[in-house]
């Protein structure tokens, strides 16, 4: 069989996102990653909920289900139990995954099914035409909040960590290389890989992540996490983060007297560091992208299968006739 190319993972369906939508880039990169990984189209299933982002399955030439709002994690869990060999990807949005679907999300994470879940965070409800979402910043004026929203936003990565996720990462629609790397890493993690993707909705929330994607500001406002490496960032790699006790501190490498060797070394195995990174939100600290946390923990379907195997070994393969005739029986006639 010839190796598949990115375009072989596309369907014949017209892609119906707004021109300029960040979803296009994610679609393209995912197709590319599939090609790079050489995935068998018949072994992949993409399950989504409802939202602009959730249109995704229609555009991927694999198995797929565009399900109902917020329930993709539950459906994917069932599918994965039925057929643990499948390669299951969940596509969700900040509304789909964190508003109506928040509960299924946290239960998916704690159970640790071996699936990837990509949360397209555009900080808005796109499909329903522009209401604020659980990730929208306070005071956001939208159709449903003409006087500004008053809801304190959810921090998706902090929530995922709080729910004992085993793989937590963040990436961006407008950084194709980073996106691809992160998706590949997510795929190679055995367990639930939670990936938040900052995605621009150019119609209802244009520029929400510009600071982190614009060439001019990007390197000063994001920090790309690399396992075992110090937290250095900035256009000239002249800034870093060190730990002052339990507090992250931004330091200028040239002027502050601190050098790279004083910096915090990224360790995706450290839950407390991951916690701190997930809280890099205010003011001066750069927004971390990359893999914040990774942990090995048995995944649900493996435990399920081994429990079944164990029971079968212990009790013998079930015999229906015996089962029906079990317990106290008696004969008539």
């Amino acid at each position: 069989m010839e190796a598949l190319k990115a375009k072989d993972y596309a369907t014949d369906q017209e892609v119906r996102w707004c021109p300029g939508c960040g979803d296009y880039s994610i679609l393209k990169q995912l197709q590319t990653v599939f090609a790079q990984l050489g995935l068998d189209r018949d072994e992949v299933t993409i399950i989504s909920g409802i939202g602009c982002s959730s249109r995704f399955p229609y555009y991927m030439n694999t198995y797929g289900m565009h399900s109902i709002h917020g329930r993709a994690p539950a459906i994917a869990s069932g599918l994965k139990m039925a057929n643990p060999a499948l390669d299951v990807w969940i596509i969700t949005g900040d509304g789909d995954g964190l508003s109506i679907g928040g509960n299924h999300l946290i239960h998916l994470l704690r159970r640790n099914f071996n699936v990837q879940i990509l949360l397209f965070n555009n900080e808005i409800y796109g499909l329903t035409k522009g209401q604020y979402s659980p990730t929208s910043e306070v005071d956001k004026q939208t159709k449903s909040s003409p006087f500004g929203s008053i809801d304190h936003p959810i921090n998706p990565l902090a929530l995922a960590l709080g729910a004992d996720a085993t793989f937590v990462a963040r990436t961006l629609d407008r950084d194709p290389a980073h996106l691809r790397d992160t998706l590949s890493r997510a795929h190679s993690h055995r367990g639930t890989s939670f990936v938040e993707i900052y995605q621009n909705c150019n119609i209802f929330n244009d520029g929400a992540f510009e600071l982190y994607t614009d060439k001019a500001t990007k390197s000063d406002y994001t920090i790309d996490l690399k396992q075992g490496e110090p937290l250095v960032f900035g256009k000239n790699a002249d800034k870093g983060i060190r730990l002052d006790g339990l507090k992250p501190q931004l330091v200028e490498l040239n002027s502050s007297g601190y050098s790279v060797s004083d910096l915090w070394i990224h360790d995706e195995k450290d839950p407390t560091k991951a916690h701190l990174l997930s809280r890099f939100f205010d003011g001066s600290l750069p927004r971390p992208i990359g893999i914040l946390y990774q942990e090995d923990r048995p995944c649900y379907e493996d435990l399920l299968v081994s429990q079944i195997d164990g029971a079968t070994e212990k009790l013998g393969k079930g015999n229906l006739d015996q089962l029906l005739k079990a317990g106290m029986t008696w004969k008539v006639g």
């Binding site: 018949d42 565009h66 399900s67 109902i68 239960h107 106290m328 004969k331």
Partner: protein, 625 residues
Amino acid sequence: MTKETKKQETSEITIKFAGDSGDGMQLTGSLFTNNAALFGNDLATFPDFPAEIRAPLGTLSGVSGFQLHFGSREIFTPGDRYDVLVAMNAAALKVNLGKLKKGGTLIVNTEGFDSKNLKIAHYDRPVPEEDDELKSSYELIPIQVTKLTRTALEGVDLSNKEKDRCKNMFVLGFLYWRFNRDPTTTINSLKKKFASKPVLLEANLAVLQAGFNYGDTTETFTVTYDIPPAQMPEGLYRNIMGNEALVLGLIAASERSHLPLFYGSYPITPASDILHLLSRHKNFGVKTFQAEDEIAGIGSAIGAAYGGHLAVTGTSGPGMALKGEALGLALMLELPLVIINVQRGGPSTGLPTKTEQADLLQAMYGRNGESPVAVIAASSPGDCFDTAYEACRIAVEHMTPVIMLSDGYIANGAEPWKVPEVEQLSPIQSVTPESPEEGISFQPYSRNENLTRAWATPGMKGFAHRVGGLEKEALTGNVSYDPANHEYMVKIRQAKVDRIAQFLPKASINKGAAQGDILLLGWGSTLGVLDSTTTELIDKGLAISHLHLRYLNPFPEGLPELLANFKTIIVPEINNGQLSKIIKERFLVPVIPFNKIQGLPINKTELKDFIYALLESEENGSIKS
């Protein structure tokens, strides 16, 4: 003491065992039941647990009961009223006395009537021995059960608390004497149960014997009763509860369809036992998933169905309400899915531990849009096996969600069940897709002659396709907003469900002639009472018949013709008239509802009274529907 005991033959007896949760009434009832079953009686049982919470000792809400109806003739229900009531304390008597037949036997544990008991139970009559009214209305047998039990166990190396736990064996022994039962099967059961605890075994056997002897040696009774074996079709039997039979039905369907069974569910009374029982059968490859809520329960089942499993989700009314949206998805996806609703008293949280049939309209219409699904209902504990099997068959062979209705009454009730032979269970055939021709892509929504699409599951080579909840284009399954396509798809989804009728047995009368004056038309757990009422009234000379519906959507063919054969159609239901509504709408025939909405099964007496009253008013020309 002189003693002269007469034996008397009787065709049926209803015994109610009632006591505190800790008094072991469930075990006592079960042991008697097994004994009767092995002896060859037909029977039906119904446990009557306290509502939800383990209530404090001696309270009314803490009363636990077990009702057993057994006989030498066909037994349809656990019985309306009791011939014998065993009351271990004041609360148990207060709760149950109303149903003891006048002249019936009342066995009371006098030690359950001390002042503390009386107070907690708000018992405001005199204690039984001093209650003249009671004594004149019933055959009262007061027994100091605790004292006699302890006496029987004198010298045994057990604490008083442990000894007292054998009390129920005393009562059981006493009853065995009264009904001339051979206790051997019970002795065997106890030996098994206490195999590893010889002291306890010894104690239980001793007390059982003491109870038996107590009857034999006191002059309490002048009569004992014989209930000869019943005539039952040949075969191997076991006593089975509804939820147990249901679980066996699902596992059997899994085996006979060669599809692994998946059960995704969130616990809820009275459906939880399905989860409990299935989870023990992992060695049948059964996968059970305790989901975070009912939506995840059905969601996981949809995922498993997409993945090629025989997927089932189960719940009760409130949980069913939560599954409506996802059920709509399943019917849009046209995947096989069985949704079990073990109904309980509603609306809302309602009466969780009581029975009701009030979720039929919800099953029919409880979703947005035009959303037909198949609906079938079990009619007795044993019938839960067949109905569950049928639900799976229809789901898989017609690629549709099927709602199976059961209820608390049959889920927890039990009856002798003729064990089927595996080979006699008709195999279940799923619809597999044909390999698409080269260059032509797979059409997930193309249909066979039954309007059923094929089941292509992820992992199958060459069938990659997308499904979803938006309206789909006929054949391709692509999203389609085309107006004519939508109308076509709505109609075809309806037609597909309607067409199932062609594969069902034709409607037929359960009992009585195919035409006559009165038809009792029922569904679900009222089977027993409708059947026995009909039998009795036919004996009395009425031109009455009984027709019981397992298939509620679609209805079986031939139903309107049968309905037309009767002058009056009475629809008895444990709800406010839901099947009545559907029958009127579907066939434009008048029906007379008989509705009981008390969280309890219908009993024969009230139904008979209703029918006689109706006949009387008919004679007076005032019958109305």
